[in-house]
């Protein structure tokens, strides 16, 4: 018993050393054309050794330590408390959410431009993940080509603005509708497929769209992409320094304030915020509607759902279409934010990340998915110091997540339905 404990502790310490020393203790430095491997300063090495020692000691005395910790948690006054009443909790939740939205509305005015820009990206991922949540989390249809609909939305706006000078506000519904149409089109051939087979077909569909965009050079510009996509306007007011389009005025001149590049960034952020909130509210409502329940029924047991008179066609197509619709939303927004898009932005990795967000957040759970979208987008930015190792850390975090909390950050909670009792 004791011997195995010591051996286990030693093993853990060595693993710590093996992992952390190459990452933190060795540096690659370019000297002229050669790359030289140098060790870091002694403090880092000492820190690594200390870390290994801590791991060793912790593993050695883990049992007794954990036993003491268990006793400590009894001191926590919250442990014995009863869970809140369903109604009260719902009320509290809605207050907290409203508060968060208000904070999110005013936050960009006191924040740096980079942060607001990142937040816009986060919101785009929130919309995407909420949309995919319908397809994967609720309807249980594994879609690995979701990014295709995102691309359809983005390219709809880019092409329409390039060839017909269509503005952002016109393109927003068009992009979403067209993406929804593509969702419907993809839905038909995959109606009979489930699980792995469905995943492969959707994966293929995603690649088809990307390769089409890449090779249809005279329309889409191929790998060179499309640039000069206009920013959104606020009632005909542009956010650039100079007005680009006839008939428009510029925002800073109308209000008589000095030009600042931040106005545009904040405006985009606010549009993204509003769209994300609309998306969340619509999908929330759909979840409580017959459609939403039918999606879940199909996920739970397709045969039973059909035997009760639910048409598989209608249920699957509605899930695909609605999911794709919101991806189109996000795509249009993305094109406007970047001002330039190319097929590079719509590779399979994007689909995988959006799927990871849905799985990490908890399939079907909206709050979970939103939190996961924030985490997955921001964490790699925060971990920039680790540069090339950040994807490694990201991957490791995901593996740990799946081991410890396979149901996701905030698993879906069933809605409590109060019934009138019969007299």
């Amino acid at each position: 018993m004791a011997a195995s404990n010591v051996r286990h502790a030693l093993f853990c310490a060595i693993v710590t050393l093996v992992i952390s020393y190459p990452i933190l203790g060795l540096n690659l430095e370019a000297e002229g054309i050669n790359i030289v491997l140098t060790g870091t300063d002694t403090t880092t090495v000492v820190a690594i050794a200390c870390a290994a020692l801590v791991v060793l000691l912790f593993q050695l005395f883990r049992d007794s330590l954990m036993g003491k910790l268990g006793a400590v948690s009894n001191l926590n006054p919250l442990t014995g408390r009863k869970p809140m009443e369903q109604k009260e909790r719902a009320k509290l939740e809605s207050w907290v959410l409203t508060g968060l939205v208000v904070v999110a509305l005013f936050w960009p005015f006191f924040s740096s431009r980079g942060a607001v820009d990142l937040a816009t990206l986060v919101l785009i991922y929130v919309i995407l993940a909420l949309g995919l949540n319908v397809v994967v989390g609720l309807a249980g249809l594994l879609d690995l080509g979701y990014v295709a609909f995102y691309a359809v939305g983005a390219y709809t706006f880019a092409l329409l603005s390039q060839y017909y000078g269509v503005s952002f506000w016109m393109a927003l519904p068009l992009g979403a509708l067209l993406a929804g149409l593509f969702g419907l089109l993809l839905g038909f051939p995959v109606l009979r497929l489930r699980g792995d087979y469905l995943a492969i077909v959707t994966l293929g569909f995603g690649e088809i769209i990307r390769i089409l965009l890449n090779n249809w050079t005279n329309v889409t510009g191929g790998p060179n992409g499309i640039g000069g996509i206009p920013d959104p306007t606020l009632f005909g007011m542009e956010f650039g320094r100079r007005v680009k389009e006839e008939g428009n005025t510029s925002f800073h001149e109308t209000f008589g304030i000095a030009y600042s590049g931040e106005h545009k960034v904040i405006f985009l952020y606010l549009i993204a915020l509003v769209l994300a909130i609309i998306t969340a509210l619509i999908i929330r409502r759909l979840m409580k509607m017959p459609v939403g329940r039918a999606w879940e029924a199909l996920r739970e047991d397709e045969i039973a759902a059909r035997s009760l008179g639910l048409s598989r066609t209608a249920v699957k197509l509605s899930a695909f279409t609605i999911g794709a619709f919101f991806a189109g939303f996000a795509g249009t927004l993305f094109a406007s934010k970047q001002g330039f898009i190319s097929p590079e932005s719509f590779v399979f990795l994007e689909s995988a990340i959006i799927l990871a967000i849905v799985v990490l957040g908890g399939m079907g759970s909206q709050i979970g998915v939103i939190l996961a979208a924030i985490a997955v987008t921001i964490l790699p930015e925060l971990a920039r110091e680790f540069s090339e190792y950040r994807m490694l850390i990201f991957g490791a975090a995901m593996v740990l997540m799946m081991i410890w909390r396979p149901q996701g950050l905030v698993p879906m909670r069933r809605l409590h339905i109060t019934l009138k009792t019969q007299e």
Partner: protein, 251 residues
Amino acid sequence: MLKIQNLAMRFGGLLAVDGVSLDVQEREIHSIIGPNGAGKTTVFNCMSGFYKPSGGKIIFQGTEIQGKPDYKISRMGMVRTFQHVRLFTQMSVVENLLVAQHRHLSTNLLAGLIKTPNYRERERKSLDRAAYWLERIGMLDQANVDAGNLSYGQQRRLEIARCMVTKPQLLMLDEPAAGLNPAETLKLNQLIVSLKEDYSVSVVLIEHDMNLVMDISDRITVINQGRPLASGTPQEVRVNEDVIKAYLGEA
């Protein structure tokens, strides 16, 4: 109300069902019995549209329904349960009953988003219906429990309630008593009889529990190796020599 004429179902070289005929009257409990592998469930699958029969006719209230898609047959008022309970396990008990009442999805998509009075009224009605049936099967307390967490007997009863909220005219029960203890079987027994008496539903029943079958059936059809062996009232079937040899055993 339901007539099956010379039903045949072939899987490749295997003739699973051959020449089975059935005639179910209004407000009747009609049992199908037979040894394991006799083709009882195959007959059910043909009736409910899961299989397209290779031959024969199924006539429900004057229309031929063989080969129609399953969800259409169910909407006509023929609903079934399964040999292995198929509930929506991660959804709550009420939600299971609500799903069953949602046949017209696309039409009320917009109505639901803006919550028209008509939509609210319909939602309220389906909730009331769900509540009524939960009380009927004595599970009102478990309304918000996940269906997967119910006991097996409760799951069986919920599955029947889920069929009943769709207001069927004909209910097909595939071994409803499988895996139930004697007390639960008795409860189920009373439930099935009351479906016939109080809601004028016809029931087609597949069952191995002879006590249940003999107690509640109005008529019985015996199938053996895909072929009809005998048909008649419980008394007639009980003394039929072929049936005793093939299935009931000489006791």
